[in-house]
Symmetry: C2
Subunit: 477 residues, 2 copies
């Protein structure tokens, strides 16, 4: 990298850095980075920066800071809320972390793993498994999503109920600040109270305060037993009671507890090849539960059978199947994981990633479903997701025969309708997807006053020129 | 509270607020608030504010902000590092949270509890237990320490290995900012990604960024089984191996895993009435392990016996005793909990609350003990504490017959000696006690550069007049 960068013009200086680092300039090469995978957002950028080391990230950021060039950090570009794609404004660049994908260290005794921001989640899971450990974060986009983005958005997914969000799986961070300074915080410590917890500020900041370049992740002993059950339940309340029953039986064993509606399951069977209901009769409510234990001979199958038997007697379940093999387990999970694709194939749909206190999930599902059906007759509510942590994807699929664009024109009405009920129940308008571009206009109403003022003060303090991921998280940012 | 406060002089305005709220002015009443319990720090304050509600805290802070009066927030005043006592400078007040001690809400189904900052930890534990739940935070000062201070210092204690620090037990916070603004963040949500995680910034900030007035805490199912074992082990390495053996047997069951040296145990037996070694022969290294499970019939005793038998065969333990009753369990734990008192009774001592990656604990103990003995011949290293999370109290007791003041004059040499080794092993100079006044001069060396600059920028952004707990955490703050 040349030493006299600061003497060059902005674009020449960028070229001097980016040339050797693999700059892509042809518009056709930049295209995949300019739009999100849902096709909701497209913006512009004058270049793509592809640094391969922390020092290169630092040099890129310092140069951009000097010239007031805005930076959009990008990992696997799997954001649900347009958090990783540029807006349409001039003088900005995308900085991809994809080349920073090394595993720097795995310590199977300490149960920690130090990895770079560009490592794909499935690869992180594999590396942990190769060392006899578990990295428990698990979600739909895991084949593309990268560690830096997962931390920057505090990703959740299926295992939050047992292991917490991405935040709880992180011990230390390396971060490049908006002035190019580097925070060397890759500490492998369970306890470290030495000043403000900066790492927790960057987790969930969606790249607006700096760029996470590497992280120390927590590992866990690999499970020795796994039991998976699909249950047909008579109501949303019964689903909640069943969760409590499993939690009371063995709090630490509940790895995942997912709710699915009969509507959503019907869409899966109708649109996804090779899927079918493995129970006798279709019902309106289903639960998928995963139990795991690291203890040998934990007897989870007996535990599950005991719990399900008691639930059957109490009328909390109508039918259930326990997976008899890894293949059957995968096919049960496929019913859950194909929900987004099935909705997409069924028609235009609007996603609501909301959360409420766990006890309010049944009421939230009922009230939102009724209100949405009333608002758009014939529309199909498809609530599904993480009942065990209170996070339900309260999605709505268009009525049959309606013009998709006419339905999507109601997107904000639909979100407002759901959000009003969620707010009434003490919930949040974004549980695990973050704010990105999609939800910045909700921040004032939900987080306004002292809270938003403090966020703005922190943003101004760490990024006074506003060059880090502009337009994301903060309204008017 | 009068409406025209802003027309009064600072002290008159304070009197107007504080009079009705129970201001103490007589110096003899203020005295207990001016010094820490260790007697290391004494400062001054012109008044003690005792607000009983969030609104009163807000009014007090707004008034102080207007007049540039510095505020020292104080809970149970159990800081080990002088974090809750005032410095000797004029124009400042202590704000006690002791009157804000209500339990606002307990939800045993959602497993959350909303409490005010002045609630004492043992009371929080009791309230959780009354609802059939567990609030797992547990540490020596639990009979005095208050929730606000425990969160402000991100307290650790014995159960971090299983449940995490105070940070991980917190879902939401209510905070009064340095301008008197209130963050209403008492959300009872497991997932909520809506902007910067401000709550994590106030946890561990030691009252320098605002005052935590209330918190939503996580609860857990009460354990149905508890097994406690005291083990004599041949070396520090054997203690670590035993930890790994228990963790591999059942990761979720290890509630606490504490190391104690023969030296420290000897001091307990010699100075604490009613204590004795419940094993055949004294050795140089001991481990106290607690296993718990919320599952009925978890069979933890069998598990413990199996693990200990295997460890005996491998030479990792020399002897062990399993508690046969709650009384015996308490007496085993007493041997651990009396360590600080026994050291105090033995002579002057210097405390080092340090952490390293768990795998480095044996090397840290050995190297520090040797270096300290060499530095001060006859001095007695007393390492003890939380091996399972890498946090050892690497304390040093004076040589017999040495003048205590002469020994204490070496305090900084002793800390420097330990810290150099800890740093070499990738550790931290403050694991769970925080920075307070004692360790601000270590911040520049350990967290200097971009990290400390970012902390300073955040402090300046949220507390531009520097009125919140001056002199704590940040050097020169």
């Amino acid at each position: 990298m040349p030493d006299d960068l600061h003497a060059l013009s902005p674009l020449d200086a960028l070229r001097a850095i980016l040339g050797p680092a693999g700059l892509l300039t042809a518009p056709e090469d930049l295209a995949p980075y300019l739009s999100d995978w849902r096709g909701l957002y497209t913006g512009e950028a004058m270049a793509l920066l592809r640094p391969a080391s922390t020092e290169e990230v630092s040099a890129c950021v310092a140069l951009c800071a000097k010239h007031g060039i805005a930076i959009i950090p990008q990992g696997g570009n799997t954001s649900m809320v347009g958090g990783a794609t540029p807006e349409s404004r001039p003088g900005q660049v995308i900085l991809s972390l994809a080349r920073m994908n090394r595993v720097r260290e795995v310590d199977a005794l300490d149960m920690t793993m130090t990895v770079e921001a560009g490592l794909v989640l499935t690869r992180a899971q594999e590396v942990a498994a190769e060392h006899g450990c578990l990295f428990p974060l698990s979600l739909g986009a895991e084949g593309s999503a990268m560690i830096g983005g997962l931390l920057s958005t505090n990703a959740g997914g299926n295992t939050t109920v047992r292991y917490g969000n991405a935040r709880e799986l992180m011990l230390g961070l390396e971060v490049v600040l908006p002035d190019g300074g580097i925070i060397h915080g890759l500490r492998r410590l369970r306890k470290d109270n030495t000043g403000y917890a900066l790492r927790h500020l960057f987790v969930g900041a969606e790249g607006t305060l700096g760029i996470i370049t590497a992280a120390v992740l927590r590992l866990f002993p690999a499970p020795r037993e796994t039991v998976t059950a699909l249950c047909a339940v008579p109501s949303e309340d019964a689903a909640l009671s069943l969760f409590r029953r499993f939690r009371a039986a063995d709090e630490g064993a509940v790895r995942a507890f997912e709710y699915m509606s009969g509507t959503g399951m019907g869409m899966v069977f109708a649109t996804i090849e090779g899927t079918a209901l493995p129970l006798s009769n279709p019902v309106n409510h289903y639960v998928l539960v995963d139990l795991t234990a690291s203890r040998e001979g934990a007897g989870l199958r007996t535990l599950a059978e005991t719990v399900l038997e008691a639930a059957l007697i109490e009328g909390e379940i109508e039918d259930a199947i326990l997976a008899e093999s890894e293949a059957q387990r995968a096919s049960l999970w496929r019913l859950r994981e194909e929900h987004p694709e099935a909705q997409k194939r069924t028609g235009a749909n609007v996603k609501n990633d909301v959360s409420v206190p766990v006890s309010h999930v049944p009421e939230m599902i009922r009230r939102c479903s009724e209100a949405l059906r009333e608002m758009i007759p014939g529309s199909r509510p498809v609530p599904f997701g993480h009942l065990g942590d209170g996070n339900i994807h309260m999605n709505l699929v268009q009525p049959e025969g309606m013009e998709p664009s006419a339905f999507l024109a109601r997107s904000h009405d639909i979100m407002d309708c759901v959000n009003a009920i969620v707010r009434d129940l003490g919930g949040s308008f974004s549980a695990e997807h973050g704010v990105g571009r999609l939800k910045t206009d909700m921040m004032e109403e939900w987080r306004g006053g002292a809270e938003l003022a403090a966020m703005r003060a922190i943003k101004a303090a760490l990024d006074p020129r506003g060059i880090m991921n502009p337009g994301k998280v903060l309204p008017g940012g």
